[in-house]
């Protein structure tokens, strides 16, 4: 079962939301509705599911409805229509009492402008959620200290938030959410107010923490780089509508429409593309023991290539042979391919970023083999493919 399910969610701002909803369902646009009946459209028919332990990034420009959408998840904003299921429970059906209980136990939230309570110390801020829940002072302060240690703020417990830098304040915000030990973290542009360097640190830290915690995280961002870095999946929004949902790579390589394409054209492709999205299928291999030099040479000729990877019976990669050496071997009258196999070859894992491939491929005599952890051959990359993949993306950029 999905942790969070959003089905047909709408949010319209204005005195007569039903009228605007009817217009939306007729397919009228956000601008049309604004002009004709002066209603703002926050979210327009959003549906998606978030799996347990996943980081999902909801991304879009300001005004795209992403902040409204995340506030519908804990009903800080009441949706105009649609359902939000948390652990299968429709939160629209909860009484205000039950809703508070869900907020207290299941969902921690982190805000763009930190929203720390200025009259409370760092520890008291971190303990706030537990205090509201009615946890006794000793326990909640102990948990707050633990959470603060987790985010690297040990020793700062007794100062006031105003004495901390922005990055540290947001750590307190994160600790306040974590102290509750919620299943779900809602992070509303949590790092957007921070300096770029500190933002990157916080992103790394969140990834590290997530490896330990396995929370379900809904992260709002307007920064594609951030989304690509953090997101297991990305939900792209425009004018309150979801334009595309997919893994970072799907968003980059198969943009659903012009809007997404324009969005992703900003990104440094080489940092995001990975080896397995560039690699080509292996057209031919030599099998150790069955193929001799003549067979290998023929395969190379048939496919117009100058070298051939050699696999053993278990289909694991052994090495590579070149056409030149195969010819030498035939001229010498030998028939054992293993004599000329070069086993000293470079391999990369499928998830290696394209950025790193440039360094590896520089002055490499053979194509680069992409193998999995069991050393099974998954594909090959030749320098031409790598540059081709990149220039293809760049070309797309120019068209927009």
């Amino acid at each position: 079962m999905s942790k969070i399910v959003v089905e047909g969610l709408y949010k319209v701002f204005g005195p007569t939301p039903d009228k605007a909803l009817a217009m939306l369902k007729e397919g009228r646009s956000k601008n049309e509705i604004m002009e004709s009946i002066r209603h703002g459209v926050g979210v327009n028919n959003a549906s998606f599911a978030v799996e347990e332990g996943e980081i999902i990034v909801i991304m879009g420009l300001s005004g795209s409805g992403k902040s409204t959408l995340v506030r519908c998840l804990n009903r800080l904003i009441t949706p105009s229509a649609g359902r939000v299921l948390i652990d299968g429970q429709d939160i629209m059906e909860l009484s205000s009492e039950q809703l508070r209980e869900v907020r207290q136990s299941k969902m921690g939230m982190v805000f763009q402008n930190f929203a720390l309570f200025p009259h409370r110390t760092v520890a008291e801020n971190a303990a706030y959620g537990l205090e509201i829940k009615g946890v006794d002072k000793e326990t909640r302060l102990a948990k707050a200290h633990e959470a603060l240690e987790l985010v690297g703020l040990k020793g700062w417990e007794d100062v006031l938030p105003a004495q901390l830098s922005g990055g540290m304040q947001q750590r307190v915000g994160l600790a306040r959410a974590l102290a509750l030990d919620p299943d779900i973290l809602l992070m509303d542009e949590a790092f957007s107010a921070l300096d770029p360097l500190i933002r990157r640190d916080m992103q790394d830290e969140l990834i590290n923490l997530q490896e330990k915690m396995h929370k379900t995280i809904v992260f709002i961002s307007h920064d594609l780089d951030e989304a690509l870095k953090l997101g297991d999946r990305i939900v792209l929004m425009k004018d309150g509508k979801i334009v595309q949902i997919g893994t970072p790579e799907e968003i980059l390589t198969e943009p659903a429409d012009d809007y997404v394409e324009r969005f992703v054209s900003e990104v440094d492709i080489s940092r995001v593309l990975t080896a397995d999205s560039i690699m080509q299928k292996v057209v031919a291999v030599a099998h150790l023991g069955t193929d001799g030099p003549r067979a290998a040479l023929r395969k190379m000729k048939n496919h117009g290539i100058s070298s051939l990877f050699v696999l053993d019976k278990q289909h694991t990669l052994v090495g590579v042979v070149s056409a030149e050496q195969a010819v030498h071997l035939i001229n010498a009258g030998e028939s054992d391919l293993s004599q000329i196999i070069c086993t000293d070859l470079k391999t990369v894992l499928p998830e290696t970023p394209a950025q790193d491939l440039f360094g590896i491929m520089h002055d490499l005599a053979y194509p680069l083999a992409v193998v999995d952890t069991a050393n099974k051959l998954k594909g090959v990359i030749v320098r031409g493919t790598l540059l081709g993949a990149l220039s293809e993306r760049k070309g797309g950029q120019r068209d927009v």
Binding site: N74, L76, L99, R100, E101, V102, R103, Q104, M107, G108, M109, F111, N113, A115, F117, P118, H119, Y128, G129, E131, I132, K133, R176, L180, L186
Partner: protein, 277 residues
């Protein structure tokens, strides 16, 4: 031309209230006046030099300002010297009691006003009326309710000095930043918890500014209330007016100024300290 019976209607209402409530108000009057007399007696019973020194030390402690402590000692000594000691004690006691009532009523009403939109719509214009109405007008209905004397003075003083306590309490709560309120909501805070854990602590310095204003207004009203038998320093001024004793009138006036400065500065400092702990 037809004359609208505005005054007549108000008179009828007040008469009706007096007829049906005077037993309660008169009883209230007895209780308050006797406790006030006790407080006054206690203050006067303390030997003046001791009182002056203790008051000076207290002002110093509260304001953390040595010069203000010194000013309090010298000022009070001057009042004693001018033979206005008893009158001053009576005024201070009256101000204390009136302020206490004004705050005990004003702060909760202010909270209610901030929390309830309907109350806000009704109370805010009422406060505007209360604050622009000339202070003397409050003296008139006080007499039928409580009879001439201190209770009537306290009643009109409370009415006159309460608006800033209500207004600034309400303002303090309403100006708590929206994002903090949202954050509190996101953590499942109930309305009551939000008030106690977030809004009141953040509104504290604003509320204290309101308390300060209330005390100042109470002091000024207590002087005016001398006309309906509040006695004290205001009573001295009132007497001086009737007898055209300019010197005596200014002496009492200086006494009021000294008390006002001491109260104002101490309360202001207290408010600031709470603002930046």
């Amino acid at each position: 031309m037809y004359r609208l019976p505005v005054g007549h209607v108000i008179e009828e209402i007040i008469e009706f209230l007096v007829d049906h409530l005077s037993f309660a108000t008169k009883a209230c009057s007895v209780v308050v006046e006797s406790s006030l007399r006790l407080l006054e007696k206690g203050m006067v019973a303390i030997p003046e030099p001791l009182f002056i020194l203790v008051a000076g030390a207290l002002v110093w402690r509260l304001s953390k300002d040595r010069r203000l402590g010194l000013f309090a000692v010298l000022g009070l000594a001057l009042i004693w010297n001018m033979g206005l000691w008893k009158a001053t004690m009576s005024t201070v006691a009256l101000v204390l009691v009136a302020t206490l009532f004004a705050i005990m009523l004003g702060v909760p009403i202010g909270i209610f006003t901030a929390v309830n939109r309907m109350a806000y719509r009704i109370i805010m214009p009422t406060l505007d009326v209360m604050q622009t109405m000339p202070a003397f007008v409050y003296l008139i209905p006080a007499i039928p309710f409580f009879g001439l004397g201190k209770m009537a003075a306290i009643f009109s003083t409370v009415i006159f000095s309460m608006p800033p306590a209500i207004r600034l309490t309400c303002l303090g709560i309403k100006q708590v930043p929206e994002d903090l309120v949202e954050c509190a909501e996101a953590f499942g805070t109930s309305r009551w918890q939000r008030l106690v854990k977030l809004e009141l602590p953040l509104a504290r310095s604003t509320i204290l500014a309101g308390v300060n204003q209330t005390v100042m207004l109470a002091l000024s009203m207590v002087v005016i209330a001398a006309m309906i038998g509040a006695k004290g320093l205001g009573g001295e001024v009132w007497k001086a007016i009737q007898r055209l004793q300019m010197g005596r009138g200014f002496e009492a006036g200086i006494g009021i100024v000294i008390v006002a400065i001491i109260l104002d500065r101490v309360l202001q400092k207290a408010g600031k300290q709470n603002n930046n702990p």
